[in-house]
Amino acid sequence: MIELFYLLVVFILSIFVGYEMIIKVPPTLHTPLMSGTNAISGIIIIGALTSLAYTANTLVNIIGLFALIFATINVIGGFMVTDRMLQMFVRKKEK
């Protein structure tokens, strides 16, 4: 019970950190920001890895496999497409 409370404290404080950081982002960066944070939400990938590791039950493994595939697409695709977008801003400065 007390452990859950600590987790809740971390959760709420993190929300405040996120709020303070993002409130000042200029509109130009809204799309990369969304796409980048979206990739970060793919952190569930570590949950997927964990769910695959500890059992030989086929059903659980199949579910875990799909979780891992989904999360990996989210992570890899998300970071790469964000990078592609941001490179467009960089390229211009060099000109």
Binding site: M34, T37, I63, I73
Partner: protein
Amino acid sequence: MNIIIEFIYLIAAILFIIGINQLSKVKTAPRGNRLSAVAMLLAVIATIVKIQLDNTSSINWAYIITGIVTGGLIGVVLSKKIKMTAIPQLVAIFNGLGGGASVLVALSYLLFNGVTTSLNMITVVLSIIIGTVTFTGSMVAFAKLQGLIKSQPILFKGRNILNVLLFILVISLGVRAIIICQNISAAIIILLIMMGVAFILGILLVTPIGGADMPIVIALLNSYSGLAASMAGFMLGNLLLIISGALVGASGIILTKIMCKAMNRSLVNVLFGGFGQTKEDKKEKSEYINIKQASPEEVASILDAARSIIIVPGYGMAVAQAQNAVHDIMTTLEQRGIKVEFAIHPVAGRMPGHMNILLAEANVPYEKLKELELINSQFKQTDVAIVIGANDVVNPAAKDDKSSPIYGMPILNVHEAKTVIVIKRSLSPGFAGIKNELFEKNNTLMLFGDAKEMLLKLNQELNEL
């Protein structure tokens, strides 16, 4: 050893925070994104090491490698092949997959652990509900953005009541599962039914929301996918999941808030309002009189005589993929010593910042893109405003007409420019389904046609002058 793993998780969390912080400035943004990617890699490696250390029995490397390779390949291909105009769809898909992954993790956790405490069951239930709604909601958003289903709001009588009923049903099933968590097989059956209802709820929540409200929906779903990851973190007792999920959840909520403010609407109104309903009542008013049409030649000579020009892009520019043509005409005009700037409405396009990213792709310097508050006072001193595929965001009715459904929405004051050129396919209404008085103003000229085609013609005419 476990403390070292936790320590690496902490470093990853810090890197995520620094990464997001750097994403907030154009200069540091690329570094910020890569830093976040490094943090993710650290987290994955730490997790794999942890699995290896914890596990006495066989580890399912085959599954792990298959999952990462398959997902990685799909991710690489999607992110490389996608056109910049299709970014909103892609973000919607990634988002949905993230939500879906949270659901599957929750399910496998339950199947693996069997009997669990009611506290744990709460986190399982929340992961499943939020994750499922994120998944189906995002898939519907994807289908709408991709044009697979109509982007107009799909409305039917009593849908709000139905949604409320479904919501109550989801919650009661969840509560029931928590109460009977000792009887695991019965609880799983109830959870699966709950998942099915949440599945339908996610679909129904997004189908009534039309194209122009998509930026808000995408931002909101982004927030949900973060929250789903956070809930999974509570379930697994994993701080990194909780922190990262919460950061994403907060960012999505803020963007949602910014978008709502830009449309002068409440989130409740966006989600349940069914904006398109006004369509029927307003139809008789949508007859246009006093429309002045111009040819590309005429417009080119007007542009040539101007000293300052503001370009107002909208979703039409994205549809026509006209961003490069916009860039070319900007260059042509600037070579003639004309000052060219861009006015970006916060909800132009289909996701937050959509126009900015398209124009960046076409090499338009981001310093030229001005926000609504900054540029609105400048229209009065501007010779020509060119509206490219934007409609509702430049409709003066939002200021003058109290009966208009968009009344109160901040708009770009293009009508204050000396001349307004509107490039548009036809007089069909924008998303709000209402008449745009701008088109009838004395200083407005309509240039009918596909945005890209018209801009190319204009550019050609300008070069021949």
